[in-house]
């Protein structure tokens, strides 16, 4: 498997987990938070479709979707739902960031869109949950 296929496959696995997580956390949110979670989930679904196309174009085999995922902590209320949403975006950002160097042209465009969207949404979730600072200098870079 090429580095490109490996990184995009890892991103696809991450996006599948992100979609699952938003399904679980969205029910704990109301109003503008719930709307933001729905928009985020839709964005991850679009990213998943773009990744499936990219991987199909080179004949790479996409990983099977896991039937369920273990959440990193229980999601029982608004605070834990917001925390998970931020966690999802930060983890996903590291997967996208790692795919920037080994991709080119359209693949890198998909990857950059993914990273950019995660950074934007992570800031939104930090603001919603009053985490400061709301922005980081290098989105996706491991601490």
């Amino acid at each position: 498997m090429t580095d490109r296929d490996e990184r995009l496959t890892a991103a696809l696995a991450g996006v599948n987990a992100a979609i699952y997580a938003y399904g679980r956390l969205g029910v704990q949110l109301t109003g503008s938070d719930a709307a933001a979670a729905r928009a985020a989930e839709a964005a991850h679904r679009d990213q998943r479709d773009a990744l499936l196309l990219a991987l199909a174009s080179t004949g790479a085999t996409p990983p099977p979707v896991a039937p369920g995922y273990t959440l990193p902590f229980p999601v029982t209320d608004r605070a834990s739902a917001l925390r998970l949403a931020l966690d999802v975006e930060e983890r996903m950002a590291t997967l996208w960031r790692a795919a920037l160097a080994p991709t080119e042209r359209a693949d890198r465009g998909v990857t950059l869109n993914g990273l950019t969207g995660c950074a934007r949404r992570a800031t939104g979730w930090r603001i919603a949950s009053k985490v400061t600072p709301a922005t980081v200098p290098y989105p996706g870079r491991p601490a």
């Binding site: 991709t103 950059l112 990273l115 709301a134 922005t135």
Partner: protein, 148 residues
């Protein structure tokens, strides 16, 4: 005679090998240091330094913690870009007349343009530069939401 020719050829080959070896090390290749001003990322560095100045002007009229964080992010990006292209570290406050303090809408528009610049640079960059440029584009994308 034959022996002499052989020796001469061997000496030439050895000399050629030495030159190739040295130029491989970059000692004798005569290439000047690349000019940072000619680097395709130089305009991005200039734009980034200008963003720092804009935030400095905004902060002078209305101090704010989120603005300071974003200002420091641009300064950090300028430092990283300068290091990448071998340019001198940008001065924190470029000399010149103080600019009028930009409002939030102006800063937000500047962030959008700067995000486009970084994204375009990222898509055109070799692998070795793609990660930093992508991080910079993503950071700028996140700034609009934090500008209140």
């Amino acid at each position: 005679m034959d022996r002499q020719r052989f020796t001469r050829r061997a000496a030439l080959a050895a000399a050629a090998g030495a030159v190739v070896g040295l130029s491989g090390c970059g000692l004798l290749d005569g290439e000047p240091e690349p000019d940072p001003a000619q680097d395709p990322l130089h305009p991005l560095l200039v734009e980034t330094t200008a963003l720092v100045a804009s935030y400095d002007a905004a902060l002078a009229s209305r101090p704010s913690a989120p603005l300071t964080v974003i200002r420091d992010t641009h300064a950090e990006h300028a430092r990283a870009l300068a290091e990448l292209i071998g340019a001198p570290a940008p001065s924190p406050r470029p000399p010149g007349a103080p600019t009028p303090p930009p409002g939030t809408a102006t800063l937000r528009a500047a962030e959008r343009r700067a995000q486009d610049s970084a994204a375009t640079a990222c898509l055109a960059a070799p692998a070795s530069r793609a990660t930093l440029l992508g991080e910079i584009a993503a950071a700028r994308a996140s700034h609009g939401g934090a500008l209140r």
